[in-house]
Subunit: 319 residues, 2 copies
């Protein structure tokens, strides 16, 4: 079993590569839920949705979120009714939020609702929210204490960041199967997601870091940073706020307690050498994921470094 | 002030005619909520929506319900997720249900939510749900006890009807302003709606029949029946189940406690004469509402019979 920790658009791209290499039943994706929020009275779980959609092969690759070819008529109608419209929910995407909210209101857990929706969409891999308890990423800025979606989507991540916290994390527990999945994995992969607000919330759930430290599997991360900048999104500012260097050294630092191998960009080979001399295995390649081929190539690199037998075992991996 | 009691597609057509004749501020519409139901976890009020949309000039005239030009992508996505899809909710229409559900969950009453949504859509007439308490039309059939939408939409009103009841009616109260609106009206119009399941629930709310009996205004109804058949929908079977003749005599009987004038079709002139000799004023005209002109003509006939001064006062009425 391959276990992936993920969040954000970079994470979805990486999982898109993995699903082309690994039989679906052998893939478990542990997903950030720190961005979850209520929208129009519905429970929205952006990262869970993106992973569900990518595994169902309906993710919009143009946008990186939401359903391919979706329309936004309900959003426009909500706008016409004077409701907030800064968080774009497509008409097809809305069905997921409606169904999840209905299932939760009937007493299902977030894990159950996630599995139910994934199964209905034909997903055969396992998608696990990091926790069934509410852990909320809060971004403290001069403009106030913002939810991640307010910071990221509503305000275009333009605010200076004082600090980041994960409200509720200390009382949270990992969702069922999360710790066992990590403990029994053949490989654990950290997607090229924002280390602070995509992977950070997962690591903030008590027990998950420990499981990553003690698992027998190799833990391989793909860097979301090239040089001194994020491949996309607000990772740089957020890393600075968390006292991390914006570089592959900062990524190595964020994952220092459990990381075995870091995959970095070719252009970072100098920094890679310095990290290697410090004892971390660093593999350099072109890590930009622009095409499907890129995604598959990087996923294959991660699998090869983590557990080459998996690719050998898998007929799909030999394609 | 003109007060209209209404429900269903015939009611929306009649209100469409009235809005072309009467200044919006002078129109109060008391609407059936017996069809209200939960759908995808949202509170849907089909008749309130139709009246809101017709007064906002966004009702689909082809369908007679929902928003003009609406799409159904969320509905298809819900179907793909294995959810029930027999009740057609358009993508724009969905915004209304989302907003109403959110307002109700925040503690607003159905009246407040109705006014809020109507105002946002530019409606200047007053729309009053008959009650803020749940009164549910239940249709007893050999196939079981059905909600109105199950009977009407899901099962295409094909089931024989044993009886109709309005669950919760005896404990319900009229919504605020309903009784005062009837008491102080210059004219009370009963739309050509199904007398059993559109007007019946309104009359079942304690106090409303009494207000209709004691109001100084003339009460004028437009028949939804021509000959021995309903102009549309399941009224005939429902009237039989309630012990009413399927004819204008049955309509007169349903409204006997308060009706002053009945507008019937030209083809019912013989029955009209017999009702007239029994003391009811009956006015015959072509009551089919196919075009906008038809709707205006019938609305004008009703206003003329109820309170001709209103049309004289209104500049719009003289157009």
């Amino acid at each position: 079993m391959i276990v992936v920790l993920t969040g954000g658009t970079g994470g979805a791209k990486f999982v898109d590569g993995l699903r082309r290499l690994v039989p679906p039943e052998e893939l478990t994706v542990i997903v950030n839920t720190g961005d979850d929020h209520e929208w129009w009275g519905l429970y929205v779980s952006p990262d869970v949705d993106s992973i569900t959609y990518v595994l169902a092969d309906i993710l919009s690759s143009e946008r990186g979120w939401g359903v391919r070819g979706d329309t936004f008529h309900c959003l426009q109608a909500m706008k016409d009714l004077g409701e907030p419209a800064w968080f774009s929910v497509g008409d097809r995407d809305l069905a997921t939020h409606l169904l999840r909210t209905k299932l939760l209101s009937k007493g299902q857990t977030l894990s159950d609702a996630t599995s139910y929706i994934a199964e209905k969409l034909g997903v055969r891999s396992r998608i696990l929210p990091m926790s069934e308890m509410r852990v909320e990423t809060r971004i403290d800025t001069p403009a106030g204490d913002l939810s991640f979606e307010e910071y990221f989507v509503k305000r275009w991540y333009q605010d200076p960041v004082n600090s980041v916290r994960f409200a509720g994390a200390s009382e949270a527990e990992p969702a069922p199967e999360v710790l066992e999945a990590i403990a029994s994995a053949q490989a654990v992969l950290i997607a090229p997601s924002n280390p602070v607000t995509s992977i950070g919330p997962i690591l903030a759930v008590p027990g998950i870091c420990g499981a990553l430290e003690t698992t027998q599997a190799k833990v391989v991360a793909v860097s979301p940073i090239i040089g001194n900048a994020a491949v996309s999104g607000p990772a740089a500012n957020l890393m600075i706020a968390q006292g991390l260097q914006v570089s592959i050294a900062g990524i190595a630092e964020a994952y220092r307690d459990f990381l075995d191998v870091l995959i970095a960009d070719d252009s970072d080979s100098a920094s890679a050498q310095s990290l290697s001399s410090g004892g971390l295995q660093v593999h350099c390649t072109n890590i930009l994921m622009r095409s499907s081929d890129d995604k598959t190539r990087i996923a294959r690199a991660a699998l090869t470094l983590a557990c080459p037998e998996i690719l050998a075992e898998s007929a799909m991996g030999n394609q």
